[in-house]
């Protein structure tokens, strides 16, 4: 982990790009935390303006709608209520009050959240509570409702349940960090008694990372795909030399190590991470264990892209990335071989390549400790996207057999369905605004609560588009937010499309559909704008293609009355 001192150096760097405004409120000394946070944000290439409230001003700041916390217009408010301060409050209570202490505190926290929701557009990052016991009742405290440890643990539990009901809130798991580092490392008594600092210098970078991991998600910088080497990464031994019977998986040799790793990867898959294989092997030999080894946890159906050949791994990862249509920076590549790791780092610097420990029994703990797969949402049963990405692979294969693109597109038998944003799709819509980088006109990120606000407002028209073809269902592939300006004009605030359906006629279909609706509502002009990022250059010409006139630098408008319906092979779902 990067040290606090290094983070202070990063803090001084100048970085291009706009600031993200963050307010930090704590009931203990937060200066070092803010320094670490600034440093870690810059370490991850993010500029931030951080407003740090005075010591122990949480309630005062949040109650006053004109406070500095709100007037600094924060995108994120970090709330750090320390367990040390909590204890000071706890001991002033009667035994009776202590028994409901956690409930009383959670009510207070919830009222803080409501104030923030009322007075700002900020997302909340609530740090949970480090657990410790005052040991005035020994271990008996564990079954004593009025004990501190009982109430702190309950409070953390309540934070989870309340957090799960509130889209504005993200929990920063500093308790998890304390568990990993140990209380002795996390908390430095001399530091605390000297100046009410509750997180040691050693622990600060971890806490800063935990916060920044969430900030990165809000900026759409998430990992979507895990690419795995095979020999000595997913199993022990070399399949080509040792044969399937002798690779270590399950009970053989150090096989349990690899079984655990595979179990973890399977869990990732179920949470929505795409799993790909990249191995220097003959394809048939490499696939054999996936098909026939009784102890393998991962099977071929879990793998979206299986690449085994003798090309270099950078070329293969590039191929996987292009076939799956995802960003290089959304890929994590694991390989036991330092040569391969360095080659990929050298050729594809955007790919995240963990420096795996030498001993395979340490792989899993190391990978977990890096927290590569932070997320802001989870779709439950719908999270697993393997089938979708596998279908994408089949389409690519078939594409090669057609003479013309039109023939191919017709053969796909594509059918689209249009909906407004609604309670069921709001979370997925928000996720798309957070994750889409390439086909994205303005790259405005919305949270689920933003989307809910938009869909319930009369000032917006919303569209989400689903697509399916003979290979399968793509799910939601495009979304559009139109903001009303006046009775005749409106503004294309957001248009996002999944790159998987690019150049299949979906652009045309979406535009036809929006124009149709806007005309029905009596609009005459659709305005829009292109905001360039370093990833969305693919949409810079979309306006011209769709019939918009350029009326200023990156400003466009479409006269709706003279719009000519664009050709497309996609049919409307018959309802």
């Amino acid at each position: 982990m990067i040290s606090f001192r290094e983070l202070k150096k990063y803090r001084k760097l100048e970085i291009d790009g706009k600031n993200i405004n963050i307010s930090v409120l704590g009931d203990c000394s937060t200066q070092y935390l803010v320094q670490a946070l600034e440093g870690y944000l810059k370490y991850k290439n993010i500029n931030a303006y951080i407003y740090e409230a005075d010591y122990n001003q949480i309630k005062l700041q949040l109650l006053d709608k004109h406070s500095e916390t709100y007037s600094s217009n924060p995108r994120i408010i970090v709330l750090y209520q320390s367990v040390e301060h909590l204890y000071d409050e706890f001991i002033t209570k009667t035994i009776g009050e202590r028994e409901t202490f956690a409930e009383d505190i959670i009510d207070e926290i919830k009222s803080n959240w409501s104030l923030i929701a009322n007075y700002s557009d900020a997302q909340i990052l609530q740090l949970n509570f480090c657990e410790y016991d005052d040991l005035t009742l020994g271990q008996y405290a564990n079954k004593t409702v009025s004990s501190f440890i009982f109430q702190v643990r309950k409070l953390n539990y309540l934070l989870q349940t309340e957090g799960s009901n509130n889209n504005l809130v993200n929990i920063v798991d500093i308790l998890g960090i304390q568990n990993r580092l140990g209380r002795e490392t996390f908390f430095d008594s001399t530091l605390f008694y000297n100046s009410k600092v509750t997180i040691s210098f050693a622990a600060l970078p971890y806490v800063a990372k935990a916060i920044v991991d969430i900030v990165l998600q809000m900026q759409g910088k998430m990992k979507k795909c895990l690419v795995c080497d095979l020999d000595n990464t997913l199993w022990g031994g070399v399949i080509g030399d040792d044969g399937m019977e002798n690779i270590e998986i399950g009970e053989l040799g150090q096989g349990r190590v690899f079984s655990s790793l595979q179990e973890w990867i399977k869990e990732l898959k179920q949470k929505g991470i795409i799993i790909a294989i990249c191995s220097k092997n003959n394809e048939g030999i490499a696939k054999e264990p996936f098909e026939h080894h009784p102890d393998m946890i991962l099977h071929l159906e879990d793998i979206s892209a299986f690449v085994a050949n003798w090309e270099d791994k950078a070329t293969n990862i590039k191929y996987i990335q292009e076939s799956l249509n995802i960003g290089l920076d959304s890929i994590v590549f694991i390989d036991d071989n330092p040569f391969e790791r360095n080659l990929v780092r050298e050729m594809l610097p955007e790919v995240e390549v963990p420096e795996l420990p030498e001993d395979p029994s340490l792989y899993l703990e190391y990978l977990r400790s890096q927290n590569y797969f932070e997320t802001l949402s989870y779709m439950g049963d719908d999270a697993d996207r393997t089938e979708m990405y596998k279908a994408e692979f089949s389409r690519r294969e078939e594409e090669k057999t057609f003479e013309t693109v039109t023939d191919y597109l017709q053969s796909l038998e594509m059918v689209a369905e249009t909906e407004n944003f609604n309670a069921e799709n709001a979370a997925r819509i928000a996720q798309l605004t957070q994750r889409s980088n390439q086909f994205n006109l303005r790259t405005i990120r919305y949270t689920t609560s933003d989307i809910e606000m938009i869909m319930n407002s009369d000032n917006y028209l919303t569209f989400s588009f689903k697509l399916k073809d003979k290979y399968g269902d793509y799910g939601i592939v495009s979304l559009v937010i139109v903001k009303k300006i006046d009775s005749e004009q409106c503004f294309l605030d957001t248009w996002i499309m999944s790159c998987r359906v690019l150049k299949r006629g979906m652009e045309e279909y979406v535009m036809n559909r929006i124009v149709q609706t806007l005309r029905e509502c009596g609009y005459k002009i659709l305005q829009s704008e292109y905001i360039p990022t370093n990833k969305n250059s693919m949409v810079q010409n979309i306006f011209a293609d769709m019939g918009f006139d350029e009326i200023g630098e990156r400003q466009y408008q479409l006269p709706l009355e003279t719009y000519k319906v664009l050709e497309t092979n996609i049919k409307e779902e018959a309802l």
Partner: protein, 80 residues
């Protein structure tokens, strides 16, 4: 621990440059806390933390609070 005063001072000078964010910083035995540019209550604790890590020693709260000059800090390190 067998530590040479000169080495400690050299280490401290480099460390202070970094932590006080002052490339010009030079060690002076009699320099007083809060009168040295960059040596405030915040950087003081950082300084202590780095020294503790470097020499694998631990200062007591009382010691940390009563250091008023660089000379005293050096003596304290040498006494550990």
């Amino acid at each position: 621990m067998n530590m040479n005063k000169k080495e400690v001072i050299i280490f401290l000078e480099e460390l202070c440059k970094d932590i006080f964010d002052d490339e010009e910083y030079t060690y002076s035995e009699s320099a007083i806390r809060d009168e040295v540019d960059g040596w405030d209550s915040l950087t003081h604790l950082e300084l202590i933390s780095e020294i503790q890590n470097e020499y694998s020693i631990k200062f007591s709260l009382d010691e940390i609070q009563h250091i008023t000059t660089m000379g005293e800090l050096v003596e304290l390190i040498l006494s550990k």
